[in-house]
């Protein structure tokens, strides 16, 4: 029974990943990260992704703070934050988030406040979606590992 559970969970994970790839939320760099995970570093992907979440939320807060300053929107600083966000997003394969950062940066280079605001909303939304989905994925993985782990002693 538990064996079946592990298999089903694995199928669920595959389906979720396929969906995220299909939607363009993730790209092949995420696969690359998975390939770097093994027994010697069994939580590599979730560790890196959690660092990404932590950094991203700081960046998003900073961006919002900069844009909310009606007096003087520091577009240059926004650009710096966006470069960082772009870089880390591409490093984990967060394709859609990265693409929005590019558009956001273009708007900031034109001092286009309305465009920036729109891009920021989109970015926050997209980031939330990514975070939720990756949490789901990691939960499935944890459950799968537990289900698979309990199965092995029974096979003996």
């Amino acid at each position: 029974m538990l064996g079946l559970g592990a298999d089903r969970l694995r199928a669920d994970m595959s389906r979720l990943l396929a969906l995220l790839f299909h939607q363009g939320v993730l790209d092949e760099q995420f696969l690359q990260l998975q390939q770097l995970q093994d027994e010697s570093s069994p939580n590599f992907v979730s560790e890196v992704v959690n660092i990404y979440f932590h950094e991203s939320e700081k960046l998003l807060r900073n961006l919002r703070g900069l844009l909310m300053d009606r007096e003087l929107s520091d577009y240059k600083k926004m650009g710096i934050h966006l470069n960082q966000f772009m870089g880390s997003s591409s490093s984990i394969g967060a394709k859609r988030v990265r693409n929005i950062c590019v558009a956001f940066r273009a708007a900031s280079e034109q001092n286009n406040r309305a465009g920036c605001l729109r891009a920021l909303e989109l970015l926050e939304h997209e980031y939330c979606y990514l975070k939720n989905k990756l949490h789901e994925l990691f939960q499935l993985e944890q459950q799968r590992a537990m289900a698979a782990g309990v199965r092995y002693p029974m096979q003996n």
């Binding site: 199928a11 363009g24 690359q32 390939q35 770097l36 710096i80 490093s91 909303e121 989109l122």
Partner: protein, 234 residues
């Protein structure tokens, strides 16, 4: 770069003493990047490629590590030879380019290959780095194949594939070129309606793959991996 090869071969026996675990002739790579995410990834890429890694967060720290920060303490510092330096380009304070220059100006380290990494594919930036003596310019994200290629190159102590002149077309890796929102493939637009987080059951792929591990062949994916090029000039 025959001299680099000689330097490497001379230093290999010393590396055996301080390398991580087993492996004679394990390379020691100094990775420089202000992004913690990127440091973690590059560290893992290098460890999986059997390298010893020292990861630092800035050019300043890198120079300190190498003993090039003006402190005359580099005498007797030969315990931790560095075989390869990989640095991000865009960093606050000292850029990767500035770090590259400092390294190439030093007699102790000018023969160590320096690789620049950047998330931006900017021609003038690439040219400038290569002219200043960078071994290669890699557009992020860095992949395992990039690291394996680099470590093979350093291990063999070979000259460049093109045999002399640094050919840009061979050194530049074009990856992740994207165009902001004007591509016809499924990509985001600024109109908020498109990819809201509504239940996406209608998007499920008909064929699902059973995978024995978390990785799977990318050919089974239905995503469009081709993106239009983004051209930037500095």
């Amino acid at each position: 770069m025959a001299v680099a090869g000689e330097v490497l071969r001379r230093s290999l026996p010393e590396n055996v003493d301080i390398s991580d675990g087993s492996g004679s002739g394990e390379l020691h790579v100094l990775a420089v990047d202000d992004s913690l995410v990127d440091r973690k990834v590059i560290e893992r890429l290098l460890k999986i490629s059997s390298c010893k890694v020292t990861a630092v967060e800035s050019g300043t720290r890198a120079l300190q590590y190498l003993g090039l920060d003006g402190e005359k303490s580099s005498v007797g510092f030969d315990g931790l030879k560095v075989n390869l330096i990989m640095t991000d380009y865009s960093m606050p304070g000292m850029t990767g380019y500035e770090l590259l220059k400092k390294i190439k100006e030093s007699s102790a380290f000018r023969e160590v290959p320096v690789v620049i990494m950047s998330s931006e594919n900017i021609v003038t930036r690439i040219d400038r780095c290569l002219e200043e003596g960078a071994e290669e310019f890699i557009v992020k994200p860095v992949k395992l194949s990039d690291v394996k290629r680099l470590t093979n190159f350093v291990m063999k102590g070979e000259g460049k594939e093109s045999g002399g002149a640094k050919r840009i077309s061979q050194k530049r890796k074009f990856k992740d070129d994207i165009s902001p929102l004007s591509s016809p493939s499924p990509s985001p637009s600024l109109s908020p309606s498109s990819h809201l987080s509504s239940p996406v059951s209608d998007n499920l792929l008909p064929a699902e793959q059973q995978c024995s591990s978390l990785s799977w062949p990318s050919s089974s994916l239905e995503c469009s991996l081709k993106r239009p090029r983004l051209h930037n000039t500095d």
